[in-house]
């Protein structure tokens, strides 16, 4: 264990979200996993939605499982709302059933022999009958599964199963909700709907959420705060957009704008994609028929910025926007540009920032060649 993690006092100086209030979860864990990776992380979270983001094999799921108690840390301390769940020094391990943690999984893990209602009720034993009935109705409504209560998991779609799983996890009013890439097996539309629903639930139920994902779109859409995990460690911590735009986040997403949209039409060698909450983009010809939901991915350094109106340009896409934020690092800067309801990340060299006098509030035009737009049917943030 490093010296940094050896006392609680030292943890007070760890970066924290400003308005998270008292810590809900305090975790300092270390575990060597079979692959040889050592997961060693220390963080505190409040009542917000915290995203654990990193590439596959970075150790983010392991971290979640260590907190849940599904795997045991080699050393460390886990406390939830002041209650000790694990203390390596005192060899204290709270059993799973008294942790008060709700969890949803990549594979829904619903009980296949029970209908949706019995699945959701599973954690409500010991509740008085009437209260349990009320709670079941309440979470079923919140999760949009009231009409599915009599159905067995095998008869439900992937999205429906995940919503039932969510209701099951929330029913006993857990002190913390852990999500282990729960929507990654769903199609894009289902994922969007669930991400929105999870945000809503977080507000309605007031339950803190720890959410593991390797999808930047999910991280940005969902997270109040993002912990960037690499090689088992937390290497950056902050608002999702800032972390993803930072030097350390860049290597992971290649600072890439990942936008959802719908194929709007085809003309010759190109197609048009209507970006959700934004303009239409001209992209290389795609095979998907009109109306298909797609993801457009554009590298941040494939976008040019201009101050005035532009003319006589070969680039097919010119989008107006306003600079919202600058994240300088080294000789470069990430510029966050708002355009419609979409926020874009644009990479420029530091000289350009001064040459164009870029600062928040400045109106700019983003110039994007059709060829720089990559279109995929699925969310494939790491595709080259």
């Amino acid at each position: 264990m490093t010296e940094k993690g050896s006392s609680m006092a030292a943890k007070g100086s760890a970066p924290e979200a400003e308005d998270s209030g008292p810590a809900v979860l305090e975790a300092r864990v270390r575990r060597r996993v079979h692959s040889g990776l050592t997961v060693e992380a220390e963080f505190r979270t409040g009542s917000e939605i915290v995203v654990l983001f990193g590439r596959s094999g970075a150790g983010k799921s392991t971290l979640l499982r260590l907190i849940a108690g599904l795997e045991r840390p080699d050393a460390g301390l886990v406390r939830l709302r002041g209650r000790t769940l694990f203390d390596g020094d005192r060899r204290q391990v709270e059993p799973l059933r008294t942790r008060g943690i709700g969890m949803i999984f990549q594979h829904d893990l619903l009980f296949p022999h029970l209908d949706a209602a019995a699945n959701i009720r599973f954690g409500l034993t010991g509740w008085e009958r009437r209260r349990a009935d009320d709670r079941l109705a309440e979470v079923a409504a919140l999760c949009g599964v009231s009409h599915l209560l009599g159905r067995r998991p095998a008869t439900l779609s992937g999205g429906e199963r995940q919503r039932v799983g969510l209701a099951r996890a929330l029913a006993p009013r857990p002190g913390l909700l852990l999500c282990d890439e729960p929507f990654s097996a769903l199609d894009l539309e289902g994922r969007d709907a669930l991400v929105d629903r999870l945000r809503l639930l977080h507000r309605a139920e007031g339950v803190p959420v720890l959410y593991v994902t390797h999808s930047p779109t999910e991280a940005i859409a969902l997270g109040d705060r993002l912990l960037l995990i690499e090689s088992g460690r937390v290497i950056a911590d902050g608002p999702p957009l800032d972390v993803l735009a930072s030097r350390s986040g860049m290597g992971l997403v290649g600072v890439r704008n990942v936008l959802r949209g719908v194929v709007a039409g085809h003309e010759g060698g190109s197609s048009r994609v209507a970006i959700d909450g934004g303009p239409e983009l001209v992209v290389p010809r795609v095979d998907q028929p009109e109306g298909t939901a797609v993801v457009v991915s554009i590298r941040a350094d494939d976008i040019l910025l201009a101050l005035g109106p532009v003319a006589g340009l070969s680039a097919r896409n010119v989008l107006p926007g306003v600079v919202e934020r600058l994240v300088p690092h080294g000789g470069e800067a990430e510029v966050v540009v708002g355009s419609g309801r979409v926020r874009w990340i644009v990479s420029v060299v530091a000289e350009a920032v001064s040459a164009l006098a870029l600062q928040p509030g400045v109106s700019v035009r983003m110039i994007i060649k059709a060829r720089s737009c990559r279109v995929a049917a699925e969310d494939q943030p790491f595709a080259p």
């Binding site: 108690g69 969890m103 999984f105 296949p112 022999h113």
Partner: protein, 224 residues
């Protein structure tokens, strides 16, 4: 003339009692072997499978030595309950239980191992105690495999010959089972009786198999 109905009825009763005993002992054993982690587990599992590979007469002889008046277990029984199960119908139950035990244990263990442990963890995270996890998740998801094992054990116990003969003998009206009666009928030059008994015992066994096949799969779990 060898009697038919008596031995057949005795065989069915013995097989039923043996099956009950096997499930009673085998269920906890299967759970321990499927989910437990302890040193010597492999050796224990191997020992419990031994009746499947030993010749039934060897198995029966071992039991006879163990349970006889001078045997280590027999001496204790003699003192405690005042008798030994040798040459007695209880000997039939013991012999056929031991011979058929692995036929329940192996599928039962397999059925439990086929239940995703992550489902059990999910149940624990939802606040359930170990026995509730077992009763509400593990067993409901594995009972079909266990039932199949129980029927297999029943049919094996129904037809046991070698082990039963060694332990309980072939006493007409007392320990003569259907399998022994068939042998005796052939010996006595009474092929008609042998054929009749064979047909009857085959009918019972096939009936049990059909019953297994017809077990409703809807509540059952199996991986989808």
């Amino acid at each position: 003339m060898v009697e038919t109905i008596g031995p057949l009825w005795l065989s069915i009763r013995v097989a039923a009692m043996a099956t009950a005993a096997i499930v009673l002992v085998g269920l906890p054993t299967a759970i321990v072997l499927a989910r437990g982690r302890f040193p010597g587990k492999g050796v224990l599992a191997g020992l419990l499978t031994l009746p499947l590979v030993l010749p039934p007469t060897v198995l029966g002889y071992g039991l006879l030595v163990l349970l006889g008046r001078r045997g280590p277990l027999g001496a204790v029984l003699e003192r405690v309950v005042g008798g030994v199960p040798v040459f007695h119908w209880t000997g039939l139950v013991i012999a056929s239980s031991v011979a058929a035990f692995p036929l329940f244990l192996l599928p039962a263990r397999g059925a439990i191992e086929a239940v995703d442990p992550a489902l059990e963890d999910a149940a624990r995270l939802l606040g359930r105690r170990e026995w509730a996890v077992l009763a509400r998740v593990t067993l409901p998801l594995s009972w079909r495999g266990m039932l199949a094992g129980a029927f297999l054990a029943f049919t094996r116990a129904l037809g046991d010959f070698g082990a039963s003969l060694m332990v309980a003998g072939d006493i007409p009206g007392r320990t003569r089972t259907a399998a022994m009666a068939i042998y005796d009928a052939v010996e006595a030059g009474d092929p008609a009786t042998a054929a009749r008994l064979s047909a009857m015992i085959a009918a019972v066994a096939v009936g049990v198999l059909v019953a297994v096949q017809r077990t409703p799969a809807s509540r059952g779990a199996g991986p989808t």
